[in-house]
Symmetry: D2
Subunit: 345 residues, 4 copies
Amino acid sequence: MIKVGIVGGTGYTGVELLRILAAHPEAQLTVITSRKEDNLSVADMYPSLRKRVSLKFSSPDNADLTKCDVVFFATPHGVAMKAAPQLISAGVKVIDLAADFRLRDVTQFEQWYGMPHSCPDLLQEAAYGLPELNREAIKPARIIGNPGCYPTTIQLGFYPLLKAGIVDGSHLIADCKSGASGAGRKAEIGLLFSEINDNFKAYSASGHRHNPETLEQLQKMSSSPVGLIFTPHLVPMIRGMHSTLYARLNTSIDNKTLQSLFEAAYQHEAFVDVMPFGSHPETRSTRGSNTLRIALHRPDNGSTLIILVVQDNLMKGASGQAVQCMNLMFGLPETCGLALLPVSP
Amino acid sequence: MIKVGIVGGTGYTGVELLRILAAHPEAQLTVITSRKEDNLSVADMYPSLRKRVSLKFSSPDNADLTKCDVVFFATPHGVAMKAAPQLISAGVKVIDLAADFRLRDVTQFEQWYGMPHSCPDLLQEAAYGLPELNREAIKPARIIGNPGCYPTTIQLGFYPLLKAGIVDGSHLIADCKSGASGAGRKAEIGLLFSEINDNFKAYSASGHRHNPETLEQLQKMSSSPVGLIFTPHLVPMIRGMHSTLYARLNTSIDNKTLQSLFEAAYQHEAFVDVMPFGSHPETRSTRGSNTLRIALHRPDNGSTLIILVVQDNLMKGASGQAVQCMNLMFGLPETCGLALLPVSP
Amino acid sequence: MIKVGIVGGTGYTGVELLRILAAHPEAQLTVITSRKEDNLSVADMYPSLRKRVSLKFSSPDNADLTKCDVVFFATPHGVAMKAAPQLISAGVKVIDLAADFRLRDVTQFEQWYGMPHSCPDLLQEAAYGLPELNREAIKPARIIGNPGCYPTTIQLGFYPLLKAGIVDGSHLIADCKSGASGAGRKAEIGLLFSEINDNFKAYSASGHRHNPETLEQLQKMSSSPVGLIFTPHLVPMIRGMHSTLYARLNTSIDNKTLQSLFEAAYQHEAFVDVMPFGSHPETRSTRGSNTLRIALHRPDNGSTLIILVVQDNLMKGASGQAVQCMNLMFGLPETCGLALLPVSP
Amino acid sequence: MIKVGIVGGTGYTGVELLRILAAHPEAQLTVITSRKEDNLSVADMYPSLRKRVSLKFSSPDNADLTKCDVVFFATPHGVAMKAAPQLISAGVKVIDLAADFRLRDVTQFEQWYGMPHSCPDLLQEAAYGLPELNREAIKPARIIGNPGCYPTTIQLGFYPLLKAGIVDGSHLIADCKSGASGAGRKAEIGLLFSEINDNFKAYSASGHRHNPETLEQLQKMSSSPVGLIFTPHLVPMIRGMHSTLYARLNTSIDNKTLQSLFEAAYQHEAFVDVMPFGSHPETRSTRGSNTLRIALHRPDNGSTLIILVVQDNLMKGASGQAVQCMNLMFGLPETCGLALLPVSP
């Protein structure tokens, strides 16, 4: 059994980790920390876990995380990088669900997250935790930067095209829509039910933190410079993410070949589902599961390709992906504990 | 492995059965019928099941249900009673999620459902499928009338009180609220998103089909005549049911004793969670799971007791409960395949 | 033109006052205060008012409210009572949308709101602002305690019955459901979209602040002691309130007479709509309007009567009612500026 | 007073017309037809109109529409074109909210709507009812093709850019999101609450009927060939439309000049609100009103411009726009009866 610690278990990615790990056959929830909720039973805060999780929150000051085999950080940006060096040197693996170990470029990190990076050396060592594109680096890694939710959909959506070099990578567009849980469990006016329900809006349309992360990764797929316009939107739903991607073909190719390109790229992937050409994936078809679905459209058989990508932002977009990384790091089957079927309707 | 058939698998209780049974370690989905969708892959209708369920719908005319060990009817009222005699005589067990085998009183059935009962003898044999209150009758049964969603909450909420004889059973009130999936997957104007969202209303306040079913069962718990006012309401949410029950104490009793009464009644039940006195259970704490939660309130320590009961109407209120019955009928652990954790948020 | 001031215009009842008053033919928005948003244009905070409201927020310290004819307090409990004496002595009328002037019983106020009352003499003078039941006292009043949202529905629903003395007033039940805007625009975890959507729960089931207010008013309608069980619930919708009221008849009466009782009570009321016996009013039929709708049910023609009442909690339940009071206080037609049709769907 | 007829008043655009016209100072609701609901009181179908609209539905066979000054068709495609010739020859003006008179190109109409056009001569005469771009043609028109909801946002969003010739018009992208009421009040499975809520999806991504309409109009603004990729999505909200438009600048221009271009284009428009550069308009800021809001973004000051456009799809996207046309056709102030403030929250 893998002894698991969770730092910051009171947010949405934290409770989602608890939901997965409480039923994971090879994981043992060992420590969960929260400064505010010291000594509170986890099930008292999350009644959905009553009778299933008996753990209590510990203050970070008292918790001995070094007895864990792996520690997940479901914390705000900046927390994991402060604790990681000590854990790593104690032989504990670290998976950070925030941004501390996502960007290889320290300058970019410091610019977008407004803080200096406290362990740039560990940052260089960290593996980017997108198994479908980086599996071999994840397996032996001591520290994982778990991808952002938006970047996961954008990368998996553009990857087969950029790798094949058949689209103009310099003018990619990602029009993305997320459910409200992506913003976290924070007491902010803008996240209130009465502000979000029956409403739709874009945000950060002039620039969003996930852009540099995505660009850094997309650039690895292409030999020519990649450019990305990324517009996030807020959908009045709790879970779910839908990315509508636009790319211009730079070569003559038929739709069957295009479809094959995607099917071939993901044929061995348990969590990526390439739907028939012209399908419309719905976010609910992934709700509560670790599956990401992709479908292609090509209006009027013209030069613009539309790639539709959906996932559950708390699962493949966050906690599910993190556990997928853990499975790889500990030599378990990648799907271990992650075979949860979508809850629909 | 239990060979399972599903008749009418295109509705919400049908697809919920599929979600549970596809991951049930002792069940093998064998036949699923739909007149309209003959030969369509189940996963084409429900993309949430892609890569997980490979079954196709068969027309009822071609499907050989007699090769199954058990057949679930997730059909409109009146379908199961026509097919049951043949299946039963072929040794196939039947679990009906509609009302055909719920009411022991044929006259009541015919009055509320507007059709004659086609097999009143089987009706007398059928077991009412509420395991917590009728477990021993379910185990050997050949045919199960799976309880209505509302009646499940009302019965489990009033049971400890009526059994103890400490409330006035003649004037019980059940003010119940259900998510929209309870109305089924029917193309009706009243069920449209634009009709239900951002709206709240009561319906059938002058009389609802679940009233006679509930009364018939409540009466079994009490030696004096039971009377029930039952008001159902429609909540703009997909899943979830919340029943607010009111009963007048007819004796002097302290709150601790009241609480103990409920805890004792359900102490061995895996799917009933008695929360601390004064708690407010939320429907989301049961979403996607087979758990029902109960909490007691007693304003001003007066004579009126409030019992709050929540469940997922498609799980403990329908398909989860049906699989719980199946487990009992086939000698499996009652929780087999039903240990799904609630999806929250 | 009536010169209007609003204190605390950043909350939901504040912006609803702005929506009404910006189009009110006899009102002139003159001052609006907010400590936090000093000098911010109202339309910058509420883009729905762009091009229609040019006012800016002023800090309470700079704002001269004494130049107004009337000041609305859309503030937390405790604010109005501190400012009222000075305004009243300057000849400015005061309408408080919070609880400072609702309860005549100071002890009850102090117990439920946890603060001493700073002007108990003004409290005695204040009129309870429910025009349908207290019109003559409102007209000459200098200060109005605007009713709570729940109390409005409960009073108008029970009034014809209590006045006629035909129900057992000692055991009334009000099972009430409110949209989330009723909780105000406060940065609290419990009010987040991801906490409220697709969820339903009761709250304060053991006792709620609106209970003493309602009781005090209901008692005025009856010569015998009134008792009320009041259970509020939170509905995943923004606006709307639905109260399901239960009362036991203590006399023999037919349904036609019952219906007439209600129709007669409200026949001259512009904002109370008595629907046909057995109707199911929906909250959306009042969305954005000042109308409250009522319908009666009597299951099995028995002794229990169900009264269904709906309103928009921000309109008849708060800001609409406050403007209705203002109209009365200034000799305007009661419907002036309040003829807004419900927005449906 | 203008005598108004409505054909097909039972759908969402129909009831929205009723909401507007019931309070319109110069309109008199005279006839409303529905084949199914003959002789039913309008307020019985739409309780939101109780006490405000006393009209009854008439069967189209009995209704004398020729006594009206203007008739709105809130009907499925194909109905208006059959009735229009007779009405026009009787001197009655016609405003069609469906597609019969939108496309000047008959071949396109017949291809996308799957029916022959029954009055191609009237089609040539019809004015396209987008006042901001076609005001002078609307004023004297006898027949109006009211624009589709999506096309309204796309045209007003791209217009200043195409007119100025500063973007590459051959590769425009419109990523559009609509609330569910846009699909109409039809009894279809795909429109059920349980299918749409807590879900997000694209639809018709390979080609949608609004594309040829939009293209036909956009082409009028540009001397070079226009190309448009248009991807509609369904948002779990009732009302509201958000279009995210992408265009590539083909010239060097600063942001201030860009902003001025938009402000100048719409400076005299009562219903178009150009927000400050970099704003994020929200659909709720238009809910229930006839206002459309626009804001510009230019990530990294690069070559791609993002134009965000929001409106209420039932108002500026349908019924509000139709009444705006009526006002123009009858010489009324354009805002007459349309000064309704948005309902927010």
